[in-house]
């Protein structure tokens, strides 16, 4: 499933380092870099709350979202 990170103006946040910090079940502890569209691809096998840490320009942000396996894309705004 695609998770896209955008800034307050809706622009993709590129080359940010993303970690999943909360999930309904154990997940691989990989760090993911956002691509040119500000996107990462995560494996969602269970519905629930997913938390993300995003490191960009020397600052770490965190966000959560409720995601279901049937979702295909989630967009998160980073203020």
């Amino acid at each position: 499933m695609i998770v896209q990170f955008v800034d307050a103006q809706g622009r993709p946040i590129v080359d940010a380092t993303v970690s999943v910090i909360e999930s309904p079940q154990p997940i691989p502890d990989l760090g993911m870099l956002t691509d040119d569209a500000g996107e990462i691809n995560i494996d969602v096998t269970a519905a629930g709350t997913y938390g993300f840490s995003l490191f960009h320009n020397g600052q770490t942000h965190r966000a959560t979202s409720t995601i279901r396996p049937s979702d295909t894309k989630v967009r998160l705004w980073v203020s």
Partner: protein, 314 residues
């Protein structure tokens, strides 16, 4: 059936046999003849075999354990993650963040731990952690080198020992030869989530960094153990090494669970014990979860596989 002592001292170029007494070492029986097609521990590789290297003798790193910072043996508690509703906010840690930044990354054992910059077959980029067990053999999580949702074997991994922000005290090398086991590459079994990067013949970085030992320890030892874990967490940017230690939370036949705080990017980190001045990895960090983070346990079959990979990179 033949029995052997299980435990490899990484700082020495030994046969892999260590005699420390039964109270600290686990005996195990060798695996008998098994159809490799039926065994999840069967080796799997991306077939990009590398030369075995020149004849340079590995001089080892005896005595380097004295360089280890005292922080390693400190007992520290778990950090607590916060989570926030959208929109996201700058990081706020609830409670104490007990992770320790390692700044002396040019010293052993920290220099034997590597930041991994991974490019998947799909072109997506990831970060992870690995650790040397010989001059060219870097142990990591299986999912750092074989990604089921990103095209299988990764395209390449840049290995950067002791990275500290922009500082690369030992340079870096890019690996394209990978090995894991079919229990991971074909069956995607969590307990078989481990693998290795075999660096090119001219990239003997482990000669300069030193190596970790690794060992198969029994349940009672692990349950009482103070575990050390150090790697490159993504919430710190993935270019800084951070360390934490905690006691074991639980142990099963193939997995070790602990409350050491980890983040994405620390997959593949060594989970080690310090014993008699020697460092033995007993697990390979792979998974994160609020109920406990976990490692693939170095039990008999994992030990044997790592030892074979170690020999490939000598």
């Amino acid at each position: 059936m033949a029995k052997q002592k299980s435990g490899h001292v990484g700082e020495e170029d030994t046969t892999g046999i260590v005699e420390h007494g039964d109270q600290t070492m686990t005996e195990y029986e060798r695996i008998g003849e098994i159809d490799p097609n039926q065994c999840p521990d069967t080796e799997s590789s991306n077939s990009r075999s590398e030369e075995s290297g020149d004849d340079t003798e590995y001089e080892g790193c005896a005595g380097l354990e004295h360089d280890a910072p005292s922080a390693e043996s400190d007992f520290v508690t778990d950090a607590i993650h916060g989570s926030y509703d959208l929109p996201s906010v700058p990081e706020v840690l609830i409670g104490a963040d007990n992770r320790i930044r390692i700044r002396a990354t040019a010293s052993y054992p920290w220099r034997a731990i590597c930041a991994l910059k991974i490019t998947a077959a799909s072109g997506r980029r990831f970060i992870g952690t690995g650790w040397f067990v010989s001059a060219r053999t870097v142990i990591t999580a299986g999912h750092c080198i074989f990604m089921h949702n990103e095209g299988g074997w990764v395209r390449s991994v840049e290995v950067i020992p002791g990275m500290d922000d922009a500082t690369r005290p030992f340079g870096s090398a890019t690996g394209t030869a990978f090995r894991s086991v079919t229990g991971w590459t074909q069956s995607r079994q969590r307990e078989n989530d481990y693998g290795t990067i075999i660096l090119p013949a001219n990239a003997r970085l482990g000669d300069r960094t030193g190596t970790f030992g690794f060992a198969n320890r029994n349940d009672s030892f692990l349950r009482a153990a103070r575990l050390n874990l150090s790697g490159y967490p993504g919430d710190k940017g993935g270019n800084q090494q951070w360390f934490m230690a905690e006691r074991t939370k639980s142990v099963s036949s193939r997995v070790i669970v602990y409350d050491i705080d980890t983040m994405g990017g620390q997959s593949g980190s060594p989970v080690w014990v310090l014993q008699d001045g020697k460092r033995f990895a007993v697990g390979i960090h792979t998974n994160g979860h609020q109920s406990g983070n976990s490692a693939t346990r170095i039990e008999a079959s994992v030990y044997n596989r790592i030892d074979a990979w170690r020999a490939l990179g000598t």
